[in-house]
Amino acid sequence: MTTNSGATDTATDERRTDHEIEVIRDRMHTVEIVSDSGEGAQKCGQIFGAVSAKMGNGVWTVEIIPAEIQPPARSPAGASGNRIRIGTDEVTNWGDRTNVCVAFNEQVLVARHRLDAIDSGALLLVENMWKDHRDEDIRAEWTAAMDELQGHGYRIIEVPMEERCLTVVDDARKGKNMFALGMLAWIFDRDLDLTRDQIAHAFRKKSEEVYEKNVTLLELGYEWASENLDVRIDVPPGLEGEDMVVMNGNQAVAFGAVAAGMELAAMYPITPATSVSHQLGEIFHKFGGIVHQAEDEIAAAGVAIGASYSGKVAFTITSGPGLALKTEFLGLAIMSEIPLVVIDVQRGGPSTGLPTKVEQSDLLATMFGQPGDAPHVVMAAATIEECFHSMITARRIAETFRTVVIVLTDANLATGVQPFRRPMLDPVWMGSRPDMSPVPEGKPPYDWDEETGLSQRFIPGQPGGMHTLTGLAHDEKSRVAYASDINQKSSAMRSRKLAVLHSTLQPPKVNGADSGDLLVVGWGSTKGAIEEAVEAAREQGLSVSSLHLRFLSPLEPGLREIFQRFRKVMTVEINYSDEPNDPFITEENRRRGQLAWLLRANTLVDVDCWTRVLGEPLRPGVILDVIRSNLPKGGAA
């Protein structure tokens, strides 16, 4: 029914002689597709993001997750879908507000408006079947919503999605998402062949008929847009030439684990960590790897520890509540020096908290969660690419230092989709099989090097290495030992390893000038938003820099020295802190951001903080405001 296959600019535009088309050129543009859950908006968003990445745009995709599990239809709480931010260059975060929003009903659109998610001047494409609906209440809701949306500079376009879709499918609920994709494809001039390929990939488990139907709907939406819209958006691709892969952070963790040579993952399902195991479940067996779904998180930790103890480093994946359950086992691994990698995909807490939403509130729990003195390594991935590479680093550190390495990611990284440089796989990443050669006579299982605390571990099967590993205090021969000097020494040995790791780390690189008025310090997934804000601030002439930390335990070196070059240092984090002027809050009792807490303790610098727990990633525009209001008064340093 349609001929616009290649979708090159000129071809399509020349066909449209009947109306003038305005082309908006922008280096960064944000799109949202929202619907009731189950209407497929997410699939539409994912395909749009993937196609844009393939065309050479920078892309960041995040899911818009309904506030309720089973919200009623057409309710603001049910808004579900995707935000896709595309750019000429790399896109590092979800941005502030959307410039285009496709909504399957006016209620979900209003929901986004109320969350301040829509930019003034945005192009809003809304399903119009509700306007003249036979249900009087619905018509009234429509009118009220349209009134609410008035006066914000939005460009609202009513689209007969249902009506058009019903010309090719019986149930439009199952097809609107592809119609919407077609409209977006026209607006952003997406390559239709690539789009069809992506549809084929997305529905690869479905029949050919499903694919055909979806492509027909795509073309229908494309055609409708070309005939009825008078604006197109051009975000020129700037990333061509680089070899990229596109995936979300959990997929990157899964691939990273394989690239790191790990062979066993043990887990118990928990949002937002679970999808790591979904990805692994599809590929791990091809590498001889096992994903073990244990009976609970405790058992998952135990299975991973048992596997690590007897061979290659294994890992376990979890989120807050599961991490709490693993605590005792982590203490055992630290005490008995069994290497282990733990991934904590953070969500909102405490307790069951906000299962699907981003937060950075596990930092101190991962550092200090084990009763007793339990030194171990904590790292945080800042980007989706780092989710991949952290696994390689974590595995290597765990092995070299015979310790537990916790890698923090979060719901923002877990569900954000971004293209990144394709890793050039290196055999070294995979590590070697454990050394199984006979143990020289008399060599003890904790042959601690006095200076470094390091020792070689013996693995079952290794002749001459027999010993009983224990979580009780033990001497170098792993004999239970309660003598005070032995406990003092073995504690020192376990702690020393972290100092040695610290000595191998480089001081972090300051983003921006090396000194100035304000230094913003962050960790984890906020990197993109913080750096975008800092860049904007610098463009406005403000003396601001930022620093992003990957190692939290041990902390990266040189921090005190860097901090002293700035008039003010503050962290920006997604966890809870009191505002200094809140009731009852004083300097002494103020709860601070978790990184701020650590930095103050470790550097004795008066590090301030600004944190929020809004259940959404930080917005660069908001951080910019924070920067402006936190600049120390009284001129440049």
Binding site: V258, V303, A307, F329, M430, P463, R479
Partner: protein
């Protein structure tokens, strides 16, 4: 249970003979008269008789008096945390099916804090021997009620006597889908204990053995009558389970029980009139988790090749 004799990781040709003393670890520190001593001896006898290489044998335990066991065996040992020996053993066996894995737990360890793992390990049916040393009490922490403490029996936490009927571990294990070997024996019957350990070791799958164990310090009276009066014992015998003809003189209640018969096994397990020892149930045809999950290993180069193919699917 029997580990695969050839290991992928270390082809060692070793003709040496192991005697019982080769499995002697640290000096056992259990109380004099503690039933754990006799389990240790029987186990070491089994190791010698099966000539298991100490370096290819792993004893995994939790926390408790009984969980000190690995320290007293000269093999690889893993003395972990309370209640969690089974997940660790599962991890070892999943990653290294070539190893011989023995698990030693107390009654609190296995049936209370570790109960979830007990149930699931039974269902996973991973090839290992799991010994539950049941003294009906928490020994290490000094006499608190355990799930297997007899109703009315006084302890430090329930000084008026245990409030509920004791949990029956054999009945419970038999109730788990995919259970493949369920046996009971008593440490004061060394010949029976040995025969049961041997059968458990030879069984391919998860061999659960409840060993009635005297704790002279806290529950000295519980098994006293049974020790003195062989009439209180009934031996379940079958060529496919255990048969200990040497004991027929002393223990005259002998019944033939085919361990393939689950209904009969459950019926016997429920009966409280006598203490029944022997193999209640055994079925080697049950799927073993580590076998269903077993995959060939790949070289690093092969893995990189496959990984690149997978990454191609995500290429931009």
């Amino acid at each position: 249970m029997s580990g695969h004799s050839c290991s992928l990781l270390f082809p060692v040709e070793d003709d040496r003979e192991y005697s019982m003393s080769d499995y002697q670890g640290a000096q056992a520190r259990w109380c004099p008269g503690c039933g754990d001593h006799s389990v240790l001896t029987a186990t070491q006898r089994l190791l010698a008789s099966e000539q298991l290489k100490p370096e290819e044998t792993v004893f995994v335990s939790g926390i408790g008096c009984s969980s000190r066991f690995p320290h007293y065996v000269s093999s690889y040992g893993f003395h972990g945390i309370h209640g969690r020996a089974l997940p660790v053993a599962t991890g070892i066996k999943l990653h290294r099916p070539d190893l011989h894995v023995f698990v030693v737990m107390g009654d609190g360890d296995c049936t209370s804090i570790g109960a979830a793992h007990w149930l699931h390990a039974t269902r996973y049916n991973v090839d290992m021997v799991a010994l539950m040393l049941d003294n009906n009490i928490y020994g290490l922490t000094k006499m608190q009620t355990s799930p297997t403490t007899p109703e009315g029996y006084r302890s430090n936490t329930q000084p008026m006597g245990s409030f509920l009927p004791a949990l029956n571990p054999i009945e419970a294990t038999l109730g788990v889908t995919n259970a493949s070997f369920v046996a009971q024996t008593a440490e004061w019957m060394p010949a029976h204990l040995y025969a049961t350990l041997e059968a458990a070791y030879k069984h391919n799958g998860f061999s659960f053995v409840r060993i009635l164990q005297r704790c002279p310090v806290f529950t000295g009276d519980i098994y006293q009558d049974a020790v003195r009066n062989p009439d209180m014992i009934e031996m379940l015998e079958h060529p496919d389970g255990v048969e200990v003809p040497d004991l027929h003189q002393i223990y005259q209640n002998i019944s033939r029980h085919d361990p393939r018969n689950m209904d009969a096994a459950r019926e016997l397990a429920e009966k409280m009139d006598r203490i029944r020892v022997g193999v209640f149930f055994r079925d080697e045809s049950r799927p073993r988790y580590e076998e269903t999950r077993h995959l060939p290993l790949h070289t690093t180069d092969e893995k990189i090749g496959i990984l690149n193919e997978e990454l191609d699917k995500y290429a931009v």
